[in-house]
Every structure is written in structure tokens, then in C-alpha cells.
Symmetry: C3
Subunit: 259 residues, 3 copies
């Protein structure tokens, strides 16, 4: 239904892999490289030119690299000069600015807004309507829920731009704001609607406005089982590389033996 070759514009300077589908009304600009078996759905813009394009005759679009097996849903805008690993997927109307780096198996939800100059590891899942400020550095297996904002200017407006860092496996629940330069360790959980600044050790449970570490996340018991759900990789497998095998076995052969 979506792939009728209606109003598709593909730059002759783009490189489109084998078996790629491109939806109606989608535009692929100069110097975009799309990996094999990818699907770019309808009404997307890939390789959106940077600001200079509007003002300079000599503008040349930087390279944009999308790995194999991507699934980009409709109305998504990806600026030029970003790199995405394999199996990248987006919801609708996602915006990704330049100099964004994503590892493999990352997913971004509808309306999520990546401000550029950010780095994500592998297997990060951002849900709908997440906002990531510039200079954020995110590890692997980090999930961020709707309406979370990562900031970078401590005294706005200023020329300071210090992003937050989030360690592997940490989870940031809905509606939370991370103040500039916040450091969240590994395997943390930041509760919903929190306002968080400062530095937190691994396995912290952080909640509140202002946010505080209230306990070790391993001491948070599930209402269903009475056992701790965290570290969650032992209890959640869907879509994870340890699906079937289990985290315990997987981690040893994948560089996470200490997690």
C-alpha cells in the first residue's frame, strides 16, 4: 500500500542498498547511504540538509549512514551527518539532528527529538516524545520513556553545554528531567516525573522533585513475585540478544560478565 513509487525523490548521489523499499512522497537527499534490506516508509526525509544549506551556494551535504535492516516510519526527518547501526527503527515524525551516533538495534518512538551531537550505544529504546539535548552520552541497553528531557545548559542562556551520561542498562521513567551534567551509573532506575541532577552510583533508585537516591534498585520488590525485578535483564528478554538463552549465560560471552 505504501510502496507505489509516487512522488519519491532520490538523489543520484545517494547510495541505496539491495532490497531497500522506499515509500511514497519520501525524499532521500545527497550523500545518504542506506543499508541492505531497509524500509524507509512514506513521507520521510533522509539526509535533511544542515542550516548552512539555506545560506551558502557551495553547500555540500555531509554523509548520512543508515545500517542494514532499518525500519523508518512515516514523516521522520533525519538530518545529514549522522550514523546509525543495523536494525535501527523509528516511529512516526521522529526528528534527528546532525552528528547523532547510534549503535545497533536502537529504536526511537513517535515524535522523539534528538538534538544532535549525541552518542548512543547498542540496543537503546527511546519511547514516544523523548527529547535528548546535545552532548548527551548514553550507554547500551538504556531505555528512556515518554516525555523525558535531557538538558545541557545549567544557567540558561549561556555558552556552557554539558550533557548527561547514562550507564548501561539504566532506565529513565516517564516525565523525568535530567539537569545538565547528570551522571547516572549502570543498572539505575530513575522514577517517573523526577527532577534529577548530580552523580549516582550503579544500582541507584532515584525518585522525586528534587530527585534523591532512595535505595538500591535491587531492594525494590515486585508486587507480583515479592522478588526484585532489577537488574531487569535477568527478568526481561523480549527483543534482547539474550532472548531464549537468558542473561546469565549471554553476558559471559558478550563482555558483560560484571553486570
Amino acid at each position: 500500500m505504501k510502496f507505489n513509487n509516487i512522488n519519491v525523490q532520490i538523489s543520484p548521489k545517494a547510495i541505496i542498498g539491495a532490497n531497500v523499499k522506499i515509500g511514497d512522497n519520501t525524499v532521500i537527499y545527497d550523500n545518504v547511504v542506506i543499508g541492505d534490506n531497509s524500509i524507509i516508509s512514506n513521507d520521510c526525509i533522509i539526509g535533511e540538509p544542515l542550516n548552512d544549506y539555506y545560506f551558502s551556494e557551495e553547500y555540500e551535504n555531509p554523509k548520512t549512514i543508515i545500517g542494514e535492516n532499518a525500519l523508518i516510519r512515516s514523516h521522520t526527518i533525519i538530518y545529514a551527518d549522522s550514523v546509525f547501526g543495523k536494525n535501527f527503527s523509528t516511529g512516526h515524525r521522529v526528528t534527528i539532528r546532525e552528528k547523532s551516533k547510534f549503535g545497533d538495534n536502537c529504536r526511537l518512538g513517535t515524535v522523539t527529538d534528538i538534538q544532535g551531537y549525541v552518542e548512543f550505544g547498542n540496543n537503546c529504546w527511546l519511547h514516544s516524545n523523548v527529547h535528548i539535548g546535545q552532548q548527551s552520552k548514553i550507554g547500551n541497553f538504556v531505555f528512556i520513556y515518554p516525555y523525558v528531557v535531557l538538558t545541557n545548559d545549567p544557567t540558561p542562556p549561556s555558552n556552557i553545554c554539558v550533557g548527561s551520561t547514562i550507564g548501561d542498562f539504566s532506565q529513565i521513567a516517564v516525565g523525568t528531567v535530567l539537569l545538565p551534567a547528570t551522571e547516572i551509573g549502570k543498572h539505575c532506575l530513575v522514577g517517573a516525573q523526577s527532577l534529577v541532577g548530580g552523580k549516582y552510583e550503579d544500582y541507584s533508585l532515584i525518585i522525586g522533585n528534587p530527585g534523591k537516591r532512595i535505595k538500591d534498585v535491587r531492594d525494590l520488590k515486585s508486587r507480583e513475585t515479592g522478588e526484585s525485578h532489577y537488574p531487569w535483564p535477568y527478568n526481561f528478554q523480549r527483543g534482547m540478544p539474550w532472548e531464549g538463552e537468558g542473561f546469565d549465560s549471554w553476558k559471559k560471552s558478550n563482555g558483560y560478565e560484571n553486570d
Copy 2:
């Protein structure tokens, strides 16, 4: 200005009612049924195929039913497999996922994001930028204001998915998060920017982070009149079925005699 039949795509398998207008660049996919006298504005997608479409040759689009007199504004995406009562309207860029059920006279504001697998009664008004997680169950005459989020996973990420319920006539003010499985009774008011979990009786006024019931909503006096504004149906009529007649008279003949 909007209805020039430019780039309109309508599936031969869609059923379009009498006197329906469809705006430029709008796509209506297979098995969509649109009720009489509806307006689908420009650049909309109605009957967006589900995820399987991308991966299965045999995919068949489920039915999508939009009642009579709808007004869908531009750039709205409605997934297949949802049902909408009469007089349904949306702002711009609304996203509605599959298995969403809306009664009559519902309105959704710009950028609002319905995650699917939800049920709304009649006359619900969601303003701009509301996010409704799966398994939410909302009564009648519930109004939800901008940047409210209804969640469903208590310990993310997990396989638990328990939505919130909101009773008839309740109001959820801007920026509030409802934690998973929250139960809001009838005629409640949840104040702005609250973080709410747990179960609340009818007529509760709930505010704060963490949110607490601070009093009976009928004890909240209006600064203008010194009288209570709540239960609001006695004091607000615009667009309501009791407009002109008054709530007191209307409720008796419409099944709300106890409200």
C-alpha cells in the same frame, strides 16, 4: 482550498460515506469505512497498516471504522483496527495506534499520541500532546490536558501491562503522570504536574508529587464566585449535550441521575 483532489489515494477496498470530503495528499488504505458527512483534511493517513504489513506478503489490513460527521485535521495518522463513534475530531499530527475504541463526540488535540488497546467512552476531550498508554480505560466526559501521560509498566522494562482507569467527568490537568494501574473515580480533579498512583474515590482533589488526595473537589471554591465550580457539569455547558437544558435536567433522562 484543501479539497482539490490533488494526490489523493483511496483504496478501492475503502467504503466512503455520502458527502465525505477528502483533502489533498491524503491516503485512505484498505478496509477503512468513513461515515457520512465526514471531513478528512489534507495529508492524513487513515487505516495505517500494522507492523506485520512490513514483513508479511499475505498481510490484510483490518477494518477501521470512523463514524459520521468526523473532522480529522491534517497530518493525522490513524492505524487500522480502531473504531470511532460519531462526531469524532482531531487536531493536527495526531497518532492513533490499533485497537483504540472511542465513543461518540470525542476530540483529540494536536500531536496527541494514543498507543492503542485503549477504550474511551463518549464526549472525552483530550487536548494537545497527551500520551495514552495501552490498556487505559477512560469513562465518559473525561477531559485530559496537555502533556499528561498514562503509563502501564510499573517496573520498566517488564512484561506487565496494567493501564489506569478514569471515571466519568474526571479532569486530569496539564503535565500530570498517572502511574500504572491508577484508579481515578468519578468527578475527580487531578491538579497540574502531579505524579499519581493508587486508588481514589469519587470527588477527590488530588495534587502534588507524589500526589495525594487533599480534599473533596466540591470544597474547592472558585475565586470569582466563592462557590464551588465542581462538579463542573453544573457550571460548564459549551459543547456538552446538556447545553441550554442544564445538567440537572439532562442527567435524569440520560442515565446519570446519581451524578
Copy 3:
């Protein structure tokens, strides 16, 4: 790349200035006036007809005036009956409803939603995903950060609509809600994720949920310098009319001698 004259629709009743570029798939409706040297990028809608258009045969689109040197990015929708000063710019997917007035040099970020019936002075910068309710009145050099919401109905739903006012140079940090009729003086800073109501004098630092004035913003010391960053115009020049000259000198010849 964007200006190929593909699917552009311009009403014969629109007035397009000299040296204006209009991107592919953009629609300019009746009675829009676009100033010289402006760029309207692809997939925009300028002069979106008001609600009456859908219901009245005699509907006539009110005037929309965009000053010279505008840069409107893709997928932005600007309703008819608004006025914008020179050098106006937007990100992607901005929505601006009718009866919005913006001075010179204003910027709106991606997905920002202006509900109409609002007034902004000069040099206001709204970042991504800001929501401005009707009847808001904003001064000059006011910057508003992502996910801020300005409300207007104190006891929803009601027929009362009282917007907030924000004085010159004030800054509203991310995720903050201003309750209806809030009055923020000049040179204030409202901290991130605050819930603010009431009236605040000039130079207030306001934070928290519920928000309180905690001190004079001039007493907030920068971690870098140990000096106060506020009033920020003395310490921030990028894109400001005092760039190069300095605020101290500029303000005397520009009507801000008391700031």
C-alpha cells in the same frame, strides 16, 4: 535540494515578496503576505484556514503577515490571521493558531504549539515542544525551554481564560508548568520541572513543585566563575542585538537603561 517547484500550491490571492524561496509540497493559502528574502521550506502550510472554513460556504481567509527574512522549516502549519515580525524562524512541525502576534527576531523550535490569541515581544526564543495557551502575554528576550506549558483555565473545564504574563529577559527552564494568571516579572529564572502560580517580582529565582521564590537570581553563582551569571544579558551575546557591543552599552541607546 528542496526548491524544485514540485507540488507547490500558491494561492493567487497570496502576496509573495522579492527573492522568496518556497519548498516542494508547500501550500500557501489565500491572503498570506510573505516578506522579502524569506524561505518557506518543504511541506509547510501557511495561512491554514480557521475552523469556519469547514462549515461555511462564504468563508474568507483572514490576512496572515510574515515579515522579511523568515526561515520556516518543514511541516510547519501557520494558521491565518497571525502577524510575525522580521527574521522569524521555526523548526519542524511547529503549529501556530490564529491571532498570534510575534515581534522581530523570534524563533520557535520543533513541534512547538502556539494556541493562538497570544502576544510575544521581540527576540523571544522558544525551544522544541513548548506549549503556549491562549491569552499569554510575553515580553522581549524571553526564552522558553522544552516541555514548558502555559495554561489559562484555573478550574477546568470552565469559561475562564486567563493567560500568564512573562516580563522581559525572563527564562523558563524545561518541563515547567505556569498555572493560569501567573505573573513573572523581568529577569526572572524559573527552574526546571517547576509548578508555578502567583505573582513574582523582578529578579526572582523560582523553583519547585509547588514553586516558590527561593532567592534573588543575582545571588545564583556560576560554578565556573563564582560570579553571578544573571542578569544573563551581561554574559550572553550570541544572536543578540548587543553582540559585539555588549549589553551595557547597547541598553542605553535601546530603551532598556533600567535593565
